[in-house]
């Protein structure tokens, strides 16, 4: 599919269930363990603790190609994947890669004993951002250009189920789309929908 826009540096935030009351402190040793054990394909380097800032990035594991975090930006907790390095392929490839990475991270965190089951994927909502204002300024033109790509991607992700898209329209913010599926999905279901 030829596209008028290049979607690089895709960020995905998978929102935790609304009732989640999560102590973020255990994430620090968890993320150090991820670095030590090299659990992901990206090279992970460091842990950054921003629990002290209001509605901030929470606790992050910083990588060379990408960062992972349990993020509280805008006051909603979720697992975020921030792709930093460029990726080859199509926009669909890049969207798929980022969402898969975020899902895999959330899946791993859901099974962490030290979190005692407090951090659960909400099943319906996620946010997708393009972290590059030169490629994707938050304008009507970008929204129009990205729409076919997003529709194709979320059609696949939700297996044809209904979903609603809402755009962030504040022009100073990153290009951001919030997605809410009509029904709840498990992480495994979403990964299966994305295929290998």
């Amino acid at each position: 599919m030829s596209s008028p826009i290049q979607l690089q540096h895709v960020n995905v935030k998978l929102f935790a269930s609304d009732e989640a009351r999560v102590d973020l402190e255990p994430l620090i040793p968890i993320f150090h363990g991820w670095i030590r054990d090299r659990v992901f394909e990206e090279m992970l380097l460091d842990v950054a603790d921003y629990r002290h800032v209001h509605e901030g990035p929470g606790v992050m594991v910083i990588g060379h190609q990408a960062n992972y975090s349990v993020d509280n930006t805008s006051g909603r907790l979720g697992v975020r994947y921030n792709r930093k390095a460029e990726l080859d392929g199509t926009n669909q490839d890049r969207l798929k890669q980022a969402v898969r990475a975020a899902l895999a991270a959330f899946q791993r965190l859901e099974s962490e004993d030290s979190l005692k089951g407090t951090l659960r994927f909400g099943g319906r909502e996620m946010e997708l951002l393009i972290n590059d204002r030169a490629l994707a300024p938050n304008t009507d033109a970008t929204r129009s250009a990205a729409q076919p790509e997003l529709q194709a991607f979320f059609g696949t992700l939700f297996g044809g189920a209904d979903y609603a898209l809402a755009h962030e329209t504040e022009p100073r913010r990153l290009f951001t789309v919030r997605v809410r599926a009509a029904k709840a999905f498990s992480i495994a279901e979403l990964l299966a929908n994305l295929g290998s």
């Binding site: 150090h32 090279m43 380097l45 950054a48 603790d49 921003y50 509605e55 990035p57």
Partner: protein, 752 residues
């Protein structure tokens, strides 16, 4: 790294001043040349440093994971951006903000850069700069272009150059100032930026301006050159000028700036600084970085000789119209408010607002206006908060906002009646915390979080203290609420621990055969009077016990304080010997051998270091002996401090020197048990065993601490002065800290 890096050059071409555009283009070329192997790594390192682009922790391609070191196989392979600094390793970008002055658009740009290139956080520093972390060097030209398009340069934010020119953030609105120093600090910043006379320093050069002598906001005492506003009546006309100081600086051993002239007319501050710069460039140390700051030159020459050389240099300068072009405009400089001044009106009695009003607002000299301090925890602010702050300063002011040396923002010219609405707006985005400038408003450097030099986790400790104190800060005794806590991750003083009531700097010690993160507790410093006096270390305490140190010392202060007595005066009266006793048990290892809590740092669960345990019986015996001897040396340097405070200057100097000799002997004895007590023999052997072999060398400071000993030996036959004793005590403590670190390394080697 970013796909769009090339796009910004074209998009912003029309918005970037020509000189800055050319500067950034040149830097981009240097990056390309380095990648092609056509530029030496050392040259490239200085090139990027002069643009504020630093290395960061783990950039040597290795990381300790808690049990072993792991190699980081970066995609660019062996390509480096400086000696031992891998190309792909994340770095820190420092961004100069002269006088801390910003506008709303610049705040928004900072937000964009934090999101796109960093980790969503911008960090305000103790010198009114911003820092962004985890930046890839390939992104830096685009980042610099985006800053330049809003009028900000990173040029000379690091390297051996003139650093950010800082100024009191309340200049122009402070009730106690002599006059507004803002336009003078700006003129100096503009004049010195890229000035040919400032390109061949051996080290950095930091200027600062203050509008008064009594407050702390300008911190002129601890700067290479400091200006305090004064006026003088000449023939019935009030003339503006500056009391001018030179040769101050913190660093490992802090120096109080010396008075150069009690009145330098405003027309003379630029040429005088130029002359100082020339003398510094010509005579300052170049090879030995640890002696290259101007404070050493002033100390070595003496202030009178230094002044003579500067005034001679002044006569040789070719007149430059920029020296005085700004003067007329400066005398008329005034910021404008957005709204008319007003009385406070009726405020609600909401507790949060009342607390915030008490600690975060100060009345301006202009009736009807206040300056609001926005307190940032650990100096951090998110991208969303920066945008919200931009909206707030547009709504309530004419974008009059400055960063402060306490890592906060000062929003000036707020009409008093707007305070409730402003508080509400700040509170909505998490920027309405009370406690600005209070005990809860802890200043800290990055420490082991991101700094290559960090020894202990200053931010981790600050976060823990902030959490504990915020819960009860308004229940604390009033006298404690206004104490200042400042923390540095190492001896380099970026957290300004020397001028705190309760200062801490990171060191390591060995406990039960393992390295344990510690902090030296520094008492006796003064924040007021532009950093009026420097504290000295009292005891090294494990990191995890520092919150108890704060509790005990503050409780002792509340219980034993005399009416109106400051903490500094209380420390002086009660004495460090007595206060050290209060902390003694906290310095000891845990009684439960299975308690591992001390062996990791705040916010970092990894075991503090690797392989430090000395194994083998012989090594074990030697290790015990070394520890014992180093502890003795540490007691001796503490006693030197006590002697100094008692006015026994000669005794203090001798004891400090002796403590260094004894620490050296402790190490020498590992391989030569029979060493005599002769200092010359000990030092000679120390040089052979530890200096020449570089075993004593600090990874970043090199032979700096050993040189303290050698210099002390050379001067040991001379009488000590109050200054030289004071410096030697600091140097002796650092030498002993380095001896501990060296011994840790030796323990590793023995055990390996």
């Amino acid at each position: 790294m970013k796909s769009s890096n090339a796009l910004w050059k074209e998009q912003l071409a029309a918005k970037i001043p020509g000189n800055l555009a050319g500067e950034i283009d040149g830097y981009e070329t240097d990056i390309a040349l380095r990648k092609q192997g056509k530029m030496d790594e050392r040259v490239f390192a200085e090139t990027r440093l002069r643009r504020g682009t630093y290395g960061q922790r783990y950039d040597n391609g290795q990381r300790y994971d808690g049990s072993k070191f792991q190699e980081m196989n970066y995609p660019s392979g062996e390509l480096t951006k400086g000696p031992g600094t891998m190309w792909d390793a994340p770095g820190m970008q420092r961004i100069k903000i002269p006088g801390g002055g910003l506008n709303a658009s610049q705040l928004e740009t900072m937000a964009e850069l934090a999101e796109e290139y960093s980790d969503d956080i911008a960090h305000v520093t103790t010198r009114q700069d911003f820092q962004l972390h985890y930046i890839h060097i390939d992104d830096t030209p685009a980042l610099m272009r985006r800053l330049a398009a809003t009028g900000i340069t990173t040029r000379e934010a690091c390297g051996n150059s003139v650093r950010n020119v800082t100024a009191c953030p309340y200049a122009g609105v402070c009730q106690d100032e002599v006059f507004d120093v803002t336009p003078y600090s700006h003129a100096l910043a503009q004049f010195l930026l890229g000035h040919p006379d400032c390109q061949s320093f051996g080290r950095k050069f930091k200027p600062a301006f203050s509008g008064c002598a009594q407050h702390a906001c300008g911190l002129t005492s601890l700067h290479d050159i400091g200006f305090i506003a004064v006026t003088r009546n000449q023939n019935g006309i009030e003339k503006r000028g500056f009391q001018t100081f030179v040769g101050g600086g913190l660093g490992a051993v802090p120096y109080m700036a010396k008075l150069f002239d009690d009145f330098v007319p405003v027309e003379e501050i630029l040429p005088l600084t130029q002359s100082v710069a020339r003398v510094f460039a010509r005579l300052g140390e170049k090879k030995n970085r640890s002696r290259a700051r101007i404070k050493f030159l002033v100390q070595d020459l003496g202030i009178e000789k230094f002044k003579e050389l500067v005034l001679q240099e002044r006569k040789t300068l070719t007149p430059d119209p920029r020296w005085t072009d700004f003067v007329d405009a400066a005398s008329k400089f005034e910021e404008a408010p957005l709204k008319p001044g007003s009385d406070r009106g009726s405020h609600g009695s909401e507790e949060g607002f009342a607390r915030w009003l008490k600690t975060n607002t100060r009345s301006q000299k202009q009736p009807g206006y206040v300056t609001v301090t926005v307190a940032l925890p650990l100096g951090d602010i998110t991208a969303n908060q920066l945008r919200a702050l931009a909206d707030i300063v547009r709504r309530f002011t004419k974008e009059t906002i400055r960063t402060t040396v306490e890592q906060n923002f000062a929003v000036r010219w707020v009409s008093q009646r707007d305070l409730p609405a402003m508080y509400e707006a700040l509170e909505a985005v998490g920027l309405g915390d009370p406690g600005a400038g209070a005990i809860v408003d802890i200043v800290t450097c990055p420490g082991t979080d991101t700094c290559k030099l960090g020894i202990s986790s200053s931010r981790g400790l600050a976060g823990e203290l902030h959490k504990r104190l915020a819960e009860k800060s308004f229940e604390l005794d009033e006298s404690v609420q206004h104490l200042h806590i400042k923390i540095s991750g190492c001896f380099n003083s970026c957290g300004q621990h020397h001028v705190a009531d309760l200062g801490f700097y990171g060191v390591s010690r060995k406990v039960a055969g393992f390295a344990v993160p510690h902090f030296q507790v520094v008492l006796g410093g003064e924040w007021e009077h532009n950093g009026g006096s420097y504290g000295l270390p009292v005891a090294a305490i494990p990191s995890k016990n520092i919150p108890q140190v704060v509790t005990r010392l503050t409780e002792r202060y509340v219980a034993g304080r005399r009416e109106g007595e400051t903490f500094k005066d209380f420390v002086k009266r009660v004495g460090k010997v007595e206060l050290k006793k209060v902390l003694e048990d906290l310095a000891k290892p845990p009684t439960d051998p299975t308690d591992r809590s001390l062996f990791s740092d705040w916010g970092d669960p990894r075991e503090y270091t690797l392989g430090d345990m000395g194994v083998g019986e012989c090594a074990g015996e030697v290790v015990s002996s070394v520890e014992f001897d180093l502890a003795g040396a540490e007691r001796e340097v503490f006693d030197a401090q006590v002697a100094l405070e008692a006015g026994q200057i000669e005794k203090a100097g001798r004891m400090a020197y002796q403590s260094m000799v004894h620490a050296a002997k402790a190490l020498v004895k590992i391989n030569r048990q029979s060493i005599s007590d002769n200092p010359d023999e000990i030092i000679g052997e120390f040089r052979t065993q530890y200096y020449d072999t570089q075993k004593f060398w600090d990874p970043y400071a090199g032979g700096k601490f050993a040189n303290y000993l050698f210099e002390a030996q050379q001067k040991s036959s001379q009488p000590y002065t109050a200054d030289s004793s004071r410096y030697l005590i600091d140097e002796a403590q650092l030498f002993i800290d380095a001896a501990h670190a060296c011994y840790n390394k030796i323990g590793t080697a023995v055990g390996a």
